[in-house]
């Protein structure tokens, strides 16, 4: 686990939040030059460096696109180090798998994956300080303890700051695993508290910390125009006319790869063909697009039509079983044959776009022998490896700097814009900032897959759920395998709880690129399954909460010690807590309703209740949403609450009217006027309650999103009696106001 102190952080690796680009002017400054600090550096391991003046520098290993890990991960180190958080400076770690392992932002995994490693890093650094003090003072190590940022010897009253001890401490051997005892939860000073985001001060002052803000010497600006019909490539373009425009430095065709890209994070070196326009500033490049005329070769392009995909999928979903069997447990045939009653429902969800607020950008400098890029990628390690493969360079020749991203939600998992920037830089022989427009971002996303569910439930005379069928219709680029984000998700309720279950899948061909969108797969499954469970309860005259509590079955942790598996004890606790908080069962005026949704994903058990009102014009007001969750221990209470509040807003935003439609292989929506994001006046009041437990912490970025849609749609049903089986709900005639 621990690595030698000699391999610790090098000063030049640091990109300090507070210093990065501080003097950024029209000429820009080198990020690396800015990162050099004058104070002496004493690093105890790759994560911990203590300055002689008392500042404690902690490296944040994983990209932060708004999920708060640049605060949460250093907090874990600081807790075990016993650092005074006020003295901590967070720096962004270099991208270096040898020292920092897998550095990515996805799957709500940052905290979960690094929990043991980072505690160990903090604890071993503390131990080195303690042993150093013991040697200097000639006292037994066992007589020493720490208080924030200092070592104490209670018998003599002697003390020394970490800063005074660190130089000698770096000479200590790194303690092995098992040589240090990690803190008990009851002794935490920092974890579980509300801590302000490490970047807050820079954010509120507009400091240059985002990908779009990066500037390096001699940098030029580029835009990249691709074929609206996804997968088309340029044949010819009026390049000379474009080059003659003011501010334009160059314009050229990138032949690229014909055909739509696949969402293959590890291997894809796809570069879509297009026309690069290079300029002396961003505006000149964007303006020149008005004059650009391109003749596209669309022979390999997508011909998707989203209404045709939908019609084929809905037709298939009407069948109880599909082409491929995914799961067959118990005797589902028998359960349906012997059922006292059967409830059926077909649910549908559309393509949606990520619409992270910062459109993609990347600064790249490609030379014959090396590439340096600055990117807000969620997978900077794959940016490095795919660039090496594309340019046939050794991995060591590729330097990737992580930079804060203005939102991610899965959009920055792919690195195609990084490759585009590197290709353009190579052609012009200069560092370049490639800036996608909002329209580029909406037209060339890896969209959330649409999904269609044919659901059937077999019920006993007493309304007990005895059989469950789910025929999932997914999009597939090859007609056989479900696209990323369109597949089956296992380990959940009710699939693993109901005794007789049949899950099957049918593919509908689609070439439109799809990928991971916040809580991929879970987000659409939750809507369909958890709405359908309410349908069942309603059809059999049972209270939804009581029905869910009973349907969860016996107390069981499906794979003990695997946090990623359902635990029905934790599930029932969050359902009980959220219904109590929302005063479930209380009388409401006509047109107003409460709705419940539960979902387990990303190792988080989350239940939500929404209170809505619906008027005669099918206008829906979401008044309040209560959330109860068991994520185990909480690292940063403020950060986790913020993620949950944001997930609720995101859920309402997506279900209201977010829909990507496709005609002749091209996306029809271009900007936010056609793809609305929820605004402040429509935002509900949100209550978040974490039922903290001693389980290790799991991630907070995603698990609160899936229950939002079913909770709201179930509330709409309770308010007005109409069942919504389509997302966005605008397609069923409803409007969130």
């Amino acid at each position: 686990m621990s690595r030698g102190a000699g391999e610790g952080m090098k000063r030049r690796d640091f990109i300090r939040y507070s210093s990065f680009g501080l003097a950024l002017g029209s000429s820009g400054i080198s990020v690396l030059a800015a990162a050099k600090t004058s104070a002496p550096a004493n690093s105890l391991n790759p994560y911990v460096m203590i300055h002689d003046d008392g500042r404690i520098v902690i490296a944040a290993p994983n990209p932060d696109v708004g999920q708060g890990v640049n605060t949460a991960l250093p907090m874990i180190v600081a807790e075990e180090l016993d650092a005074d958080w006020q003295a901590v400076e967070v720096v962004l770690a270099p991208i270096d798998a040898n020292r920092y392992g897998a550095q990515f932002a996805g799957g709500s995994l940052s905290v979960r994956n690094r929990w043991n490693e980072l505690r160990q890093m903090g604890a071993t650094a503390r131990e080195m300080l303690l042993r150093s003090a013991a040697q200097q003072w000639g006292v037994p190590r066992t007589e020493l303890t720490t208080q924030p940022s200092k070592v104490l010897h209670p018998p003599s009253g002697r003390s020394a700051s970490f800063a005074e001890l660190v130089a000698a401490a770096t000479e200590q051997p790194v303690p092995a695993n098992g040589e240090v005892v990690l803190k008990a939860r009851a002794d935490y000073r920092l974890l579980g508290q509300r801590v302000v985001n490490a970047a807050a001060s820079d954010i509120v002052q507009g400091r240059p910390i985002f990908g779009i803000d990066v500037a390096v010497p001699d940098m030029v600006y580029a835009t990249y125009v691709k074929c609206p019909q996804i997968g088309g490539v340029p044949k010819t373009a009026n390049l000379e006319a474009v080059k003659a425009l003011p501010g334009i430095l160059d314009a050229f065709i990138v032949k690229g790869d014909a055909g739509p890209p696949s969402f293959d994070l590890r291997k894809s070196i796809h570069v879509a063909g297009g026309v690069a326009i290079v300029a002396s500033n961003t505006w000149a490049a964007i303006k020149a697009r008005r004059s650009l005329q391109v003749d596209w070769d669309i022979s390999a392009a997508s011909t998707d039509d989203s209404l045709a995909i939908e019609a084929a999928a809905l037709s298939a979903a009407g069948r109880p079983t599909g082409d491929h069997e995914v799961k067959n447990a118990g005797d589902s045939e028998g359960a349906f044959t012997n059922a006292s009653s059967i409830v059926s429902g077909v649910y549908a969800t559309d393509f949606v776009s990520h619409a992270q607020l910062e459109p993609q950008s990347c600064v790249a400098h490609t030379t014959a022998t090396a590439i340096e890029v600055w990117t807000s990628s969620q997978t900077p390690g794959f940016a490095q490896s795919t660039l090496a493969k594309l340019f046939e360079l050794p991995a060591e020749a590729i330097t990737v700097h992580q930079v804060r991203g203005g939102g991610g939600f899965g959009r920055r998992l792919s690195n195609e814009y990084v490759r585009e920037a590197a290709v353009i830089s190579k052609k012009i022989g200069k560092p370049v900032k490639l800036q996608w427009t909002r329209e580029d971002d909406m037209a060339f996303d890896f969209y959330r897959s649409p999904a269609y569910f044919g659901l059937q439930a077999a019920l006993s005379e007493t309304g007990k759920l005895t059989g469950w069928r789910n025929h999932v219709v997914s999009v597939s680029s090859d007609g056989e395998e479900a696209n990323y984000g369109a597949g089956y998700r296992g380990y959940n309720f009710p699939d693993d709880v109901v005794p007789n279950v049949h899950i099957s899948q049918t593919m509908v061909a689609s070439k439109t690129p799809t990928g991971a969108w916040r809580a991929p797969i879970s987000n659409v499954y939750a809507f369909a399954e958890q709405s359908f469970l309410h349908e069942i309860a309603d059809a059999t005259g049972q209270d939804h909460r009581d029905f869910l509590m009973a349907a969860l079955g016996e107390d069981k942790w499906f794979k003990p010690d695997d946090l990623a598996s359902l635990n029905t004890v934790r599930a029932r606790k969050v359902i009980a807590a959220v219904t109590q908080a929302a005063s479930w069962g209380r009388a409401l005026p006509k047109g107003r309703g409460l709705g419940l949704g539960f979902f387990f994903s990303h190792a988080g058990h989350v239940a939500e209740v929404a209170e809505v009102s619906v008027n005669a014009d099918k206008q829906v007001t979401v008044h309040e949403v209560w959330v109860a969750a068991d994520l185990g221990q909480i690292v940063n209470l403020s950060g986790a609450e913020n993620q949950f509040e944001g997930s609720v807003v995101d859920g309402v935003s997506a279900l209201a009217d977010q829909r990507i439609s496709i005609r002749s292989g091209a996306i029809e929506q271009t900007n936010f006027h056609q793809y609305p994001l929820l605004r402040l006046p429509q935002s509900p009041k949100i209550h978040v309650d974490f039922l903290t437990s001693d389980y290790p912490p799991s991630g907070a970025g995603e698990p609160a999103l899936p229950p939002v849609a079913p909770a709201i749609c179930n509330a709409v049903f309770n308010a007005c009696g109409e069942r919504i089986r389509t997302l966005p709900i605008s397609r069923a005639g409803f409007k969130v106001v």
Partner: protein, 173 residues
């Protein structure tokens, strides 16, 4: 074209008169606090002040604003943080933070003309600023805190009230 930005005069004679203020600030003057989000005045990430009023800088060509006074997030507080910026930190508003400079400029403009805004006033003033991360409840809480501070309550008193009212994300560490 002449432009005064945060009290400093700039000559932008070589710039394209069509260039939106946003890109002049970012690429020509190196002031990158105002952000590009949509380019069509839908999201508010580019909000700055023109002669003291909040505007979408992505839709303001330089030719239309020659000689006017621009204030950006970099110049909002002068040498210290503006009370709205302080409140944004105290409530730990930001997630990704990309929209927040625009949100703060809209909020500070609101409080300048209406130091004690109602909920409806806040909704009206902030409806043009999208937060994709969904930090709206904290934005409202921070505006209320800044409002109280601007009306003469000390930050400590405001903090106490916020802590007592609990649900608004007030931060203790």
């Amino acid at each position: 074209m002449q432009l005064s930005v945060n009290g400093k005069a700039h000559e932008l004679n070589d710039a394209d008169p069509d260039m939106p203020l946003l890109w002049a600030l970012r690429d020509l003057l190196g002031l990158v606090g105002a952000k590009y989000g949509c380019g069509v005045a839908q999201c508010g990430a580019c909000t700055v002040w023109l002669d003291g009023a909040p505007v979408r800088s992505c839709q303001l060509p330089l030719a239309a604003i020659s000689g006017r006074e621009v204030t950006t997030i970099e110049g909002l507080g002068g040498d210290a943080l503006h009370p709205v910026q302080e409140a944004w930190i105290a409530h730990d508003v930001a997630q990704c933070g990309y929209c927040q400079a625009g949100q703060i400029m809209s909020a500070a403009a609101l409080l300048q003309r209406n130091p004690n805004p109602s909920s409806e006033d806040i909704e009206g003033a902030m409806a043009g600023n999208i937060c994709r991360c969904g930090t709206y409840s904290r934005i409202v809480a921070a505006i209320n805190t800044a409002s109280k501070q601007l009306q003469g309550l000390s930050f400590y008193e405001v903090g106490q009230e916020a802590t007592v009212s609990a649900s608004d994300g007030e931060v203790s560490v």
